[in-house]
């Protein structure tokens, strides 16, 4: 089956699916307790609600609400007029986490930018020319290392891929840390939990013969079609934007979240992997796939086009109707 067909099936049957899911869960076919089945059923009804009211619209509203100064009790700097004279001077309002006060405090910088200056470029300039005390993570400057995740005007974004002039609203850009992660300093957040969740799903190809895996002079057989099944999910750069955008991660810290789950799917779909159904069992838990509520914000913010939302729903199907999503074929060593 082609990737696009899977997507159509998955999304297309999202409306019918909850009913089926609720029934199956109640009938205790998913191997979980009856009480939990009822719970899941209710969660799914909620998801149907979400769908009826338009997940896309809710997603937008949700994203727009991020870094709300009033709600978070942020100390704001005194407003001053933007320096006149330079058409390309933007005002950066940067919400910085202070360890001492455990609060976000605003610093304001006016920066001259060019047509192609990225938000990261402007921040690096601020650090070099205006305020060496500001801290943020960055490295590759080309959207592949995953360091510079932050919120730009409330939306989780990679700063190096975000054009400054295009992001400005009335000459102002608001920058903040990703609040879905614990805060360390300024725009720097703590990733320990994030990495822990990623590691917990055994993110590597499981093979029975280790020696063969490390030494063999031949490749495992794999067709282009088989590669196509996991390739879209292997672009994850571990930047953390999806976790920041996910409403469930923000309310239930134990939820594995879209990053780890999308990677569980990536390895599950790889025909070279020999862990098979055990991979699904690992995430067949309340804090695994079943806490996902289809908000879809993860897929919306992913800068690399990974679609964790589809991955998670596909796994739910696979758990309930084995072999529904993919025909599992073992990968043998090339002769």
């Amino acid at each position: 089956m082609k990737e696009s067909q899977i997507a159509i099936l998955t999304y297309g049957s999202m409306i019918g699916a909850p009913v089926l899911l609720a029934l199956l869960a109640l009938l205790n076919l998913s191997g979980l307790g009856t009480l939990y089945g009822i719970y899941t059923g209710l969660r799914i009804l909620l998801a149907v609600d979400l769908l009826l009211f338009g997940a896309i619209g809710i997603r937008e509203i949700y994203l727009g609400k991020r870094v709300n100064p009033i709600k978070l009790g942020i100390k704001t700097a005194e407003e001053q007029p933007i320096r006149n004279g330079e058409a390309d001077t933007l005002r950066f309002r940067v919400y910085r986490f202070k360890e001492e006060s455990k609060r976000l405090e605003e610093s304001v910088y006016d920066v001259a930018v060019g047509k192609y200056t990225s938000v990261l470029g402007a921040l690096v300039k601020i650090k070099a020319e205006k305020d060496p005390t500001i801290s943020m993570r960055y490295s590759c400057n080309m959207g592949i290392c995953g360091s510079c995740g932050m919120t730009v005007n409330g939306k989780p974004s990679l700063a190096c891929e975000t054009n400054a002039l295009k992001s400005a609203r009335n000459g102002i850009i608001t920058i903040g840390p990703m609040l879905g992660h614990p805060l360390l300093k300024d725009l720097v957040t703590d990733f320990d939990d994030f990495f822990g969740k990623h590691e917990s799903i055994s993110p590597h190809l499981e093979r029975e013969d280790r020696k063969e895996k490390y030494e063999a002079p031949k490749e495992y057989a794999q067709t282009r079609e088989q590669i196509g099944r996991f390739l879209p999910y292997s672009y994850c750069i571990m930047c953390g934007l999806c976790m920041d955008a996910c409403p469930v991660v923000n309310t239930n810290p134990a939820f594995l979240g879209p990053q780890a789950l999308s990677q569980a799917y990536r390895y599950y779909m790889d025909s070279r992997d020999q862990m098979g159904e055990r991979r699904l069992q690992m995430v067949n838990t309340k804090d695994g796939v079943w806490d996902c509520e289809y908000a879809g914000t993860c897929s919306e913010v992913c800068p690399k086009g990974v679609d964790p939302a589809t991955a998670i729903q596909s796994m739910k199907f696979e758990m309930l109707v084995p072999k529904f999503v993919m025909k599992k074929e073992g990968a043998e060593m090339e002769k």
Partner: protein, 581 residues
């Protein structure tokens, strides 16, 4: 101060470092305690930015041989590479490509499930395996994921190493700052592999990550160890104007043209047989010559002169399958669609051919004759040397994988021979570390006046101006003077951030210190080499001179002064000849 004890510490978590960790663990049957130390999150090392692919003879039945791979590499190196090392590279590379296939890299494959290989600069046959144009990224993700499943390997994210502790020619440990807390750490181990990557951030216009500051190389130099061939810096012909982001050589490998302002494929005048796929040093010189002779185009935004990389005639589906990132980058960074418009490019600092002087096994050399016990270097930070005066595209990933594995296994064997117990030297290590902690505390506490970021900007300006694609005595001497002034300014450096937690101000300052010391080494070696070879091209000594200069430059610091010696090139099968394409 916190002290952490391991058997093996690996500094740097790029492809070389993580390969070393996996194979050291495997060779010891998972019995040694390994620490992977990175100043970033481990999976964010600059190896992720490698795009085009990895070289290796996968299918000899297609007419390729390891000897052809070796010869192409040696000719590309302008005959400065050590030929025994190159033969080892060619022999070992195929196994590494398959190893990466086994740990999850989605190599592009053909209908018969064979790994596809594409043409690359200076290679006589398609020999470069690739996973779209995100090869380095996929290799890094596979390695990180594989490492996370190995129980005896600990990853120390965001630990910035500031000095190597070496006593009586033996590695004892290293001092690092844990960025999250700002506290000093002594990391003790009986063996160490340095894999910290290149130093192209000494230049302003560069394809490299902000983090490519050559820290391990600078640490080695300051610890009294020797560096080799530092004058050879590769300038990649096609970096995007104005940001310097890399546009992969694969764009030309898949058929892209280089055009000057008159719309001519100017490479026909410089390398008629290879055209756009000549080695990088030659293509870079050709571009700069075109620009110098008035056939460049000025970028309106930055004023930089450039030429054009034209992909418009290529099949759109092929671009989407094989070069998706080129399009992603140009669309996102400069709002340009390569389907419709040619891409503005010019040469940018890309790869450090020189580095920590090692023998063929990757063991670090104190000087030309004596190796340091328990210390290896692998990847771009090391100079084995397989790239000589100019690296061929896609040989770097093979080098990282081959020497990553080799040094990992050597370290594991060394530990099983010499035992893993810490001994009396631990006191010495503690003394060293305490001194280093004190030095950094004084740096932060000091009230110096000189702006580190100003010094960095000046340093990178002078390197771009004087040690770019073409060099001469006058320019390089001016750069040397500038750098001396910067080194002296650094003695009174201003650090505004006095905090502990995630103090990137002090990290930047320590990186700038490393860059200054490497810029000095590059300039010193470059001034002394009075010939043109590979990437070191002088207008005042325009030709190669095998009679006097068929040798490696070895530099070390003795009481603060550079001491330079020359070491002959090891030649096995291929006599130096005129290099023509």
């Amino acid at each position: 101060m916190e002290t952490l004890d391991y058997d093996l510490v690996i500094l740097g978590t790029g492809i070389a470092g993580m390969c070393a960790a996996i194979h050291a663990s495997e060779a010891s049957k998972n019995s040694i305690r390994i620490a992977l130390v990175s100043k970033l999150h481990a999976m964010r090392s600059h190896s992720v930015a490698a795009e085009g692919g990895i070289s290796g003879v996968l299918y000899p039945e297609g007419g390729d041989t390891q000897d052809m791979h070796a010869y192409d590499t040696i000719k590309g190196s302008d005959f400065l590479a050590d030929q025994d090392a190159v033969e080892l590279l060619a022999k070992s590379a195929p196994r590494e490509i398959r190893f990466f296939e086994h740990i999850g890299v989605p190599w592009n494959r053909d209908e018969k499930q064979k790994i596809t290989q594409r043409p690359f600069g200076g290679m006589s046959i398609p020999r470069t395996a690739f996973a779209a144009d995100k090869t380095g990224f996929f290799m890094m993700r596979a390695l990180y994921d594989e490492v996370s499943g190995i129980g005896n390997v600990s990853i120390l994210h965001e630990n910035f190493a500031t000095s190597l502790i070496i006593n009586e020619n033996r590695f004892l440990g290293l001092h690092a700052i844990d960025l999250a807390t700002g506290e000093s750490r002594l990391i003790r181990a009986n063996a160490c592999i340095i894999a910290t990557g290149g130093a192209s951030r000494v230049f302003k216009f560069t394809t490299n990550s902000y983090s490519c500051t050559g820290d391990g190389t600078a640490l080695a130099l300051r610890a009294g160890l020797s560096l080799k061939d530092m004058e050879f810096v590769q300038f990649h012909p096609t970096a995007l104007v104005p940001t310097g982001v890399l546009i992969t050589e694969a764009a030309r490998g898949e058929g892209g043209y280089l055009l000057n302002s008159k719309g001519e494929r100017f490479m026909k005048a410089y390398a008629p047989s290879k055209m756009e796929l000549a080695p990088r040093d030659i293509v870079s010189r050709s571009i700069i010559t075109e620009i110098n002779e008035g056939r460049g185009i000025a970028d309106q935004e930055s004023g930089l002169q450039h030429v054009l990389l034209d992909l418009r005639h290529l099949d759109h589906r092929a671009i989407e399958e094989k070069l998706p990132m080129v399009r992603e980058i140009t669309m996102k960074m400069i709002n340009l669609d390569p389907f419709n418009e040619p891409i503005p490019v010019r040469p940018a600092a890309h790869f450090t051919m020189g580095g920590i002087n090692t023998n063929i096994n990757g063991q670090v050399m104190r000087d030309m004759n004596s190796a340091v016990s328990g210390l290896w270097a692998a990847g771009e930070c090391s100079c084995v040397s397989v790239h000589g005066a100019n690296r061929l595209g896609s040989n770097s990933l093979s080098q990282c994988a081959v020497w990553g594995r080799m040094t990992g296994i050597s370290a594991a064997e060394y530990l099983s021979r010499n035992g893993t117990k810490q001994d009396v030297d631990s006191k010495v290590a503690e003394l060293y570390a305490a001194k280093e902690e004190d030095r950094i505390a004084r740096l932060i506490g000091g009230n110096g006046q000189n702006d580190p970021y100003r010094i960095l900007a000046d340093l990178r300006d002078t390197m771009d101006m004087n040690l770019y694609v073409y060099r001469n005595e006058k320019g390089m001497s001016a750069a040397k003077k500038d750098i001396e002034r910067m080194a002296s300014d650094f003695k009174s450096i201003a650090i505004k951030d006095k905090g502990k937690r995630f103090n990137t101000n002090i990290r930047d300052v320590l990186e700038i210190e490393n860059l200054i010391c490497l810029a000095q080494a590059i300039t010193e070696c470059a001034i002394r080499r009075k010939e043109s070879r590979g990437a070191h091209s002088r207008t005042d000594y325009a030709s190669r001179n095998d009679n006097e200069w068929l040798s490696h430059t070895v530099i070390r610091m003795e009481n603060g002064n550079p001491e330079i010696a020359y070491q002959p090139v090891r030649i096995t099968k291929w006599k130096p000849e005129e290099r023509k394409y």
